[in-house]
Symmetry: C2
Subunit: 376 residues, 2 copies
């Protein structure tokens, strides 16, 4: 069965509309995947994600391995059942978290030893154990163990870590082929290319990984501090070299502007914590730009936060009420802002996709940015 | 129009089933009113309250006067519109908050001066200003300014404060009669009897207030630290003396056990923060008793928190998942626990009411308590 079908590529750029089929749901691409690190998209209920037409969410292998742990997840029958979510889940391998969150890391060819950020306990991840854990989680799309380098980072260090990453990913694929799903539905495994902002390393990484039999290809190691224009350039270079017929996932990206730029460069899948994290700090994404709901100017503004992008929040509550909730420290403020931001992102992706299918993505991008950036 | 109709009084006790009609909704009594101090029932969305058949919620005049303030509420067109809630609202006068939360109180016959618990700013409430604020809030049921004495408190202090309370309530009623609703629907004003645990003072308070033309009668100054049995005794005494044909509201009560005991003694309306406050601390009300979801024994318990009382939470999530959310500090834990506890209370009141109408309240109480208390 062909898992990924490209329906249309926008003439004049590399933007494409497709359908990625998992056994839990069909994901219309380009798609944004809300982040649900610990088996919950923060402050948003599962039924609300369904209502907003989220077709896939993220989980995180590093975090889920610590809490609730594989034993609980196994007994629950996997993460879908544990959190009562019937659509697709993608799990990040935890590579990024190990290299950004934990201390006292020891890397060798076999794997990586690290201390839990929660209690300092020592853990050892190998490519094989990561796949084993993701089998127990039961994610529809699994990511392999990799080394995510910071930015900036030395060329030689990247070269060295890239070798280990390729070796690990190859072993992940082997473990994936040698094991079965626990829960009767098939899972996929994507690759992650690395190489920081060095194009020759990116090319090498993509070439090596593209020869292996992964179900899709992710671009890792970006959105880690490099300038936006450089990120766009590396993505552009990467999508020129990645296989055309497989889904492309740009990890950890990004703002609405980043998404438009990278859709234009041929990316199909995105994930980022900013819709939910910003929401919890009172920052709302709207078609007129991002706004800080705590601003005094909203005190008696009884308009919707967004007349154009309809969410439960924007259809039912005013800027003044949302400001009141945040100023008063009420949890409902975080809930309504999170619903709005996730809803905004999902509606945004839907509109991007329709624009591509109608051959007017470039025009859509221009119109969106004109309105979105003017208010900043 | 008769605002309150009693449908049935349970033979053998004073429990009664009735209907209290406001212009926003019909409240089937006995009823529990979820507390929404600042224009939000903490961590519960308005549509969820509707889904759970909450017909009335509380707001608090003291808190709403500080945030968002009367100017914002006036411009919003009242609290119903501000928070987008179309059913009834009762507002506490703030008397209790002034006497429990604020410092540097100065009481004179005219009113009470106090410092805001937020920023220390000085405020002065008179019976008239409290009614004026409640007119702006637009609550369906308004409460008058009173003095709530602590427990234990001196007889002479109570006697003195009672005189002021009766004077203030009389002036509230006068101000109520002399003013109109801002928003085109009628409002009601209840009395609040005080007198701590002194029966002669309670009797005096009830007699004085019953002669005035209030729409309903509240019992204040209980659930402030006195033993439960003493509370039940004072309520029993109070309902023997209160008018039969008007709704009776026991302020700030209570646990499911308290509710059963006081329904039996003829109370129609209740409010309490414990379903929502306990929820935020991981304490769930269930038909098998209250449980602490953080307890390790729930780590791999994949049962519903309550098979009998159906809520979005109990129908969709397991004890293990809820525990994981709390252990991980996830906001969704507080949301789902709050939905469950409010849903549990509302379903509990519904079952109590049906039991009264079917003449089997005493049996219902016995059966409920047998199951509820065994697990503690």
């Amino acid at each position: 069965m062909k898992r990924f079908n490209i329906e249309y590529v926008q003439p004049g750029c590399k933007a494409r509309a497709g359908v990625l089929t998992t056994e839990h749901s069909e994901i219309l691409t380009p798609a944004f995947m809300p982040v649900g690190t610990l088996g919950t998209v923060k402050a948003v209920e599962q039924r609300e994600l369904t209502e907003m037409n989220a077709e896939i969410i993220l989980g995180n292998t590093y975090h889920l391995n610590l809490r609730p742990g594989v034993e609980v997840l196994k007994q629950a029958g996997g993460l879908h059942k544990f959190m009562n979510w019937n659509r697709a889940i993608l799990t990040d391998s935890g590579g990024f978290q190990i290299f950004s969150l934990t201390k006292l890391k020891k890397i060798n060819d076999d794997g990586v030893e690290f201390s839990s950020h929660l209690d300092g306990t020592r853990h050892f991840f190998t490519p094989e154990t990561v796949i084993d854990i993701e089998r127990i989680i039961g994610s529809d799309i699994m990511m392999p163990l990799d080394i995510c380098m910071p930015n900036p980072s030395d060329y030689k260090d990247n070269l060295k870590s890239l070798e280990i990453t390729h070796n690990w990913e190859s072993r992940c694929l082997k473990q994936f082929k040698n094991t079965d799903s626990y829960y009767g539905y098939s899972q996929m495994l994507f690759s992650i290319c690395q190489g920081s902002t060095y194009k020759d390393l990116r090319k090498q990484s993509i070439e090596i990984l593209s020869e292996m039999d992964f179900d899709g290809n992710a671009i890792g190691g970006l959105a880690v501090g490099e300038p936006n224009e450089l990120m766009y350039d590396i993505v552009d270079f990467s999508t020129d070299n990645l296989p055309q017929d497989k889904p492309r996932y740009l990890m950890g990206v990004g703002t609405p502007v980043d998404i438009l730029e990278n859709v234009e460069r041929g990316v199909d899948l995105f994930d980022c914590v900013i819709p939910t994290r910003n929401a919890r700090h009172g920052r709302l994404f709207t078609s007129n730009g991002e706004l800080n709901i705590k601003n005094a100017k909203y005190k008696n503004n009884f308009n919707s936060p967004d007349e154009d992008y309809k969410t439960y929040t924007s259809e039912n509550f005013t800027l003044a009420y949302l400001r009141h909730l945040f100023i008063s420290g009420e949890i409902l403020g975080m809930q309504l802002a999170s619903i709005h931001n996730v809803g905004f992102y999902l509606e945004f992706m839907k509109r991007i996709r329709i624009a591509i299918l109608e051959g007017r993505f470039i025009e859509f991008k221009k119109d969106f940015l004109k309105k979105y950036l003017q208010e900043k």
